[in-house]
């Protein structure tokens, strides 16, 4: 038993640290650090740099541009990326549809989609959630009928993140209305330029355009855009969701925020002294750091256990990572908000102002706090995660 990194792992980490900080533009990393919105160009730029160095899709099969990394190396990669405030590679491409096509797609689909997905020449969005479905994903209603060798899709998807930038959408659709909930669902790839698709922006409480509703009105989809077998889509979705939970704890991101909070507290005056002189604030920060350190080790334990498990199956411990990881993400934004204090109140005059780092970044702190409330709601709410623990772990 040894929790320390090997010298090889340390060298790997140090090389990534250097790479991220020297190769990814500082301006982009600063926006991430301040929790500002990234433009489409920012995300594309960053991912293409990673891609040029073979680092955009390390989790993919080696044959399709992946790396033969150990779980520890993958863990280090993700943490260092976040710690350096590098934009995450677009998760819909890299962690969702890419692995699904690589695992279940036809050779033709792989050749057609995987390279462009890795390089972000295709921007994907996710069509799973529907209005009113919430945590009950399998109750989806969007239907695809086979007519003349094509699927004709009608229905509505909700919470489609960054769908406004997307070239393609991967969708769960109901292809057999007689079958039970999880059966009768298929996994379709749909060109966003298809006639009959409408995207409606939905602003989130911080005023940003992050999510959308996507409407399908008799949208024709070529049959070859079906992934795997008809009515087996739920299996591919489960595979995809398991991948999604990897790295959901966002420990590196929380570390980056704590480091920022410390700097901000040092630079903030209160009653003529640095705010950092307040032992209460310092203990509060320390308490978050401790929980985060514990979570980091918990995550390493999960990672290490994966070596001995079927890699396709998610460890139920991922529910612990999700609950605690999201709580700590929220705790760090609360901390930033409390440090910013009354100076967090003013907002930028224009929506575009939200993308521009200003002098101190204080105007982006409250939106960050507001926006972070979502992390305990999405990806299987923390309540759902507690249900999973109670049932799968505790047998209640």
């Amino acid at each position: 038993m040894d929790l320390r990194f090997t010298p090889e792992e340390i060298a790997f980490r140090d090389e990534l640290r250097r790479f991220f900080r020297s190769e990814i533009p500082a301006e982009i990393r600063r926006k991430v650090a301040e929790g500002r919105h990234l433009s489409k160009e920012d995300i594309v730029t960053s991912q293409r740099i990673l891609h040029a160095h073979g680092l955009a899709t390390p989790n993919w099969p080696v044959a399709w541009g992946g790396k033969d990394w150990s779980p520890v190396q993958r863990y280090i990669f993700t943490e260092e990326l976040q710690r350096a405030a590098v934009p995450l590679p677009l998760q819909f491409n890299v962690f969702m549809v890419g692995p699904v096509i690589a695992a279940f797609g036809s050779e033709e689909q792989k050749r057609r989609f995987l390279p462009a997905t890795a390089s972000l020449d295709i921007w994907w969005c996710q069509g799973f959630s529907e209005p009113g479905a919430g945590s009950d994903l399998a109750s989806l209603k969007t239907r695809a009928e086979k007519r003349d060798g094509k699927y004709v899709v009608s229905g509505q998807k909700a919470w489609t993140t960054l769908g406004q930038h997307a070239d393609w959408i991967f969708c769960l659709v109901r292809t057999d209305r007689e079958a039970k909930k999880q059966r009768g669902i298929s996994f379709l790839l749909i060109d966003m330029k298809s006639p009959g698709i409408t995207v409606r922006p939905v602003l989130t409480i911080d005023g940003s355009h992050e999510v959308n509703e996507v409407f399908f009105d008799e949208v024709e989809v070529p049959a070859e855009n079906l992934v795997g077998e008809e009515n087996k889509g739920w299996d591919y979705a489960k595979f995809l969701l398991a991948n999604e939970r990897t790295g959901i704890a966002r420990i590196g991101m929380s570390k980056q925020r704590i480091a920022r909070a410390k700097r901000l507290a040092r630079d903030t005056e209160a009653n003529g002294r640095s705010l950092w002189a307040d032992p209460d604030l310092r203990r509060r920060v320390a308490a978050i750091e401790v929980e985060l350190k514990a979570l980091e080790i918990t995550q390493m334990r999960v990672v290490a256990a994966q070596r001995q498990r079927d890699a396709d199956k998610p460890d139920p411990a991922s529910s612990i990572l999700k609950i605690k990881g999201s709580e700590l993400q929220q705790a760090t934004t609360e901390l930033l908000l409390d440090i910013a204090g009354p100076y967090a109140q003013p907002a930028p005059e224009h929506e575009e102002g939200r993308n521009e780092p200003d002098g101190d970044g204080l105007d982006a702190i409250a939106p960050l706090y507001f926006n972070a409330r979502k992390v305990s709601i999405y990806g299987g709410s923390n309540e759902i995660q507690r249900n999973i623990i109670a049932k799968a772990f505790l047998g209640l």
């Binding site: 909700a158 409250a366 309540e383």
Partner: protein, 384 residues
Amino acid sequence: MDFDLTDEQRLLKDSVDRLIADAYGDFEKRKRHQSGPGGYSHELWSNFAELGLLALPFPEEEGGIGGGPVETMLVMEAIGRGLVVEPYLDTVVLGGGFLRCGGTAAMRAELMPQIADGTLTLALAQLEPHSRYCLNDVVTTARREGDAFVLNGRKVAVLHGDSAGRLVVSTRTAGARADRHGITLFLLDAAAPGVTRRGMPTQDGLRAADIQLEEVRVPAADILGEVDHGLALLEQVVDIALAALCAEAVGVMEDLQRSTVDYLKTRQQFGVPIGSFQALQHRAADMLVAVEQARSMALYAAMMAEEPDPALRRPALSAAKVQINQSARKVGQEAVQLQGGIAMTFEYKAGHAFKRLAMIEKTFGDTDHHLNAVSEADSLVEAE
């Protein structure tokens, strides 16, 4: 001990509730109000005036309604429930409070009617780039020149400061940066030469301004209270505003509690209303406990807001703000969590209520600030 409203108070409450329900009952209308000049509806402001709400705290002999903290509480609770954007706190509670507690006879005679009829709004320019929650940390200066004072400095995040006709400005006329002595308050024409205002929205949909003062000349007649002794007045009026803020927060929380319970009853998941899940029931129950604890302390704040002895008044208001802040954070976060995705959208009211609560927390002192004050006073539970 008596918690009953008088008949007049009940009448006031009914009419305010009706007004706000008309103007804000449909949440879509709030956006329209926000798009008015200064970020609020001038038509609605006239309605406030017609109902007498803008003259509420002024003495009857000066044309006011003679309402006290309980009347203000009733108005502010309704303002909270509706997420009202009109500058009531700034103009009537703060501005009106300074006039009432520290204005000269001339000021009162001139300005109270203008406030009452809705033609004048005010704002408190107090916060500075490094003062945080310390009211006596003032570096904006006022130097005497003959019969006037010349002001220089910068005030930030002045709520409704971009549209206010007059500004109450705290300045330093003597002493060092955080001294309690040497603070003087001015009632400044916002259009005076040397005043530069940069307006901006706030995170919760109100308006604010950064205000630069460069060689702004103010006649000595426009001093509120006494030269060098402005802090006691500032603290007095901020305490009145704290009581009002507490009531507003209770209104916001009440509305969030209601919408959350409604959501739990109607939202279906796995074929049943999610309100049938016991884990969510218990959390809704804990929200209610938090709201009721806040309501109790808002009552306490109203009761103590006009207490003349600051040694009794200030810790009481601090205690109230602590409870409000603690309840606000819990109720706001839980309301969003229990209502889920929909509460994260800009179209839906709950998220805006959550944001307003987060900003109320940061107004006139956060939890730590007021806990320190409670502890120093040692008056809630005396040591053995």
